[in-house]
Symmetry: C2
Subunit: 324 residues, 2 copies
């Protein structure tokens, strides 16, 4: 199977530059954050979000080179994403993420709150200095959606009455909003028409939803080793995702297990086994596939053929292949 | 002695509206934050920062009523300030502030990080929607300065080589930047000239510095009851302020006590007693007075006589009177 990073070939050089810049921007000025920056922007990350922004930038600037504004936008996107992860891990008291210790686990809550605030603050400042009010609005929407998503997730823990619509909304806030708005912002910076910007938004939104849906399937089907966190950990924490919501329609007995918050011995394992007996995971795969196809349809309306637009197309496909 | 709130008479109605709006904006949409919002924007606060913004708005709009943008700016200012307090209290593990339990102490770190992020996110969004790029830049500067200030304070703990210049810089980041940039932003929204905007900035900057310097004196001279936190708590945590830095010039023996981080029995009390024997507190008073006077000079260059400009003038004076 192709690795996701091989898809990023058209922006390989851009991504190398971005990584160096991010470490410099965050770490060099403040030794106290140096270790955290090395940890956050070091070798591990896939740079999915800035790669998408850079590919969308190249796909909309076919005949010209990227501007420094496009590159800055990609950096801002990764900074906002990283800041939200750092604070999420404090809020959820997570000790590892993708098999790597979290900032709060390595350096304590104090440094983790500070590092996240610093990243948010830096990104706000760089954003304001892109000198483009439309882009500022799009990215401020993302920051607000992250906070909204965290709060909604907190409010809907163990709520068996959650609908698929609620689930998609929650997934938009926590994952798809960033991709939708940042890809659209890349279009704004390239000066494409408002219509094309809306198609780019449609691509990012549906790609982000497909990505989150696949993640939520993997929580049930992948091993803890592949996930980099214990399998079934979303369910355990009461974050009910599509496979669970579909399974609830077939197995009413699942409701009691969930509402009991898996406090009894072996209840989490029973719930996971029950879910796997249903069509929940298959139906969720179809949902992911639907959004992935929709993403490609929007993309085809937005950009012409080029290595970068092909990479964006392949990415929508790659996301589904993570399942097999 | 006049209370500070009586100085706010010209904007009393504006402040009442602002308080209701803030509770609504933060609390009503999310029950999980409702208690925190009630706590944060409830009866206790002095609303110093939005009052200054509203007074500067009225002082620059003498013949006209405030716009909804001016009001929104005042709300944003209070939201950013409150967000930074909530995260500061997590970072510093503070249990009370102004005799009131902190959000982290009442609701835990999880809600405190979320509440702070939500406030920052809301303020970024409202800021972007003021539709004024210059104002976005000014306030993004403030958010960055807060993060910078927190980090610098962390880096300079117990550093006896800190200069008065370093101290003023730190005070600018943590207190004066918000006042300077938000008062200037009020001028931008009123459409006054760039020169007047710079004078407004000068007023806010020096008022903020005087305010912080006075706060740092009170840490030594006021009772714990008045402070709402234990007296000498800045010194204890290694935050070296002007009285300490001046005292170090007279009493070299203070250096060892500080570098020993007051780990020995009674060392904090000895250090406080030593500081009080020096001219440190008197010299710090002169420093506060200098910045308060400078604030008035800038103000007089920026605005004409009006009840609101008189209130801003009185405020610079009031800040010093807190010392007597």
């Amino acid at each position: 199977m192709t690795s996701v990073t091989s898809l990023f070939a058209p922006v390989d050089d851009d991504l190398r530059l971005l990584t160096d810049n991010l470490k410099e921007l965050v770490g060099a000025r403040h030794p106290i954050l140096g270790a955290a920056a090395e940890h956050l922007f070091g070798a591990g990350g896939k740079r999915l979000r800035p790669a998408i922004v850079l590919l969308a930038s190249r796909a909309t600037m076919v005949e010209q080179d990227l501007t420094s504004y496009h590159r800055r936008l990609a950096e801002i996107t990764e900074m906002i994403h990283t800041a939200s992860l750092v604070h999420d891990d404090v809020v959820d008291e997570s000790e590892t993420r993708r098999n790597v210790e979290t900032v709060n686990s390595l350096f304590g809550n104090r440094i983790a709150v500070l590092a996240g605030d610093f990243l948010f603050a830096q990104s706000s400042w760089y954003l304001a200095n892109l000198d483009n009010l439309a882009v500022v609005k799009l990215l401020s929407e993302v920051i607000r959606d992250f906070a909204e998503g965290e709060i909604r997730q907190g409010l809907s823990q163990f709520d068996v009455d959650l609908s698929i619509t609620d689930y998609l909304e929650k997934s938009y806030y926590k994952t798809a909003s960033l991709m939708a708005n940042s890809v659209k912002a890349a279009g704004v910076l390239s000066g494409v028409s408002p219509e094309v910007c809306d198609h780019l938004y449609g691509y990012g939104r549906n790609l982000g939803l497909a990505f989150q849906i696949v993640d939520d399937i993997l929580d049930f089907t992948a091993t803890s080793e592949v996930l980099g966190k214990p399998a079934g950990s979303d369910l355990k924490s009461g974050n009910l995702t599509a496979p669970v919501l579909y399974a609830l329609e077939e197995k009413p007995e699942l409701k009691d297990l969930i509402e009991n918050e898996f406090t009894g011995e072996g209840e989490l394992e029973s719930a996971i086994a029950l879910i796997k007996e249903t069509k929940g995971i298959d139906r969720t795969r179809e949902l992911a596939s639907y959004h992935s196809q929709l993403a490609v349809e929007y993309l085809d309306k937005a950009v012409k053929d080029s290595p970068s637009s092909q990479a964006l197309r392949d990415l929508a496909d790659y996301i589904l292949r993570r399942l097999y």
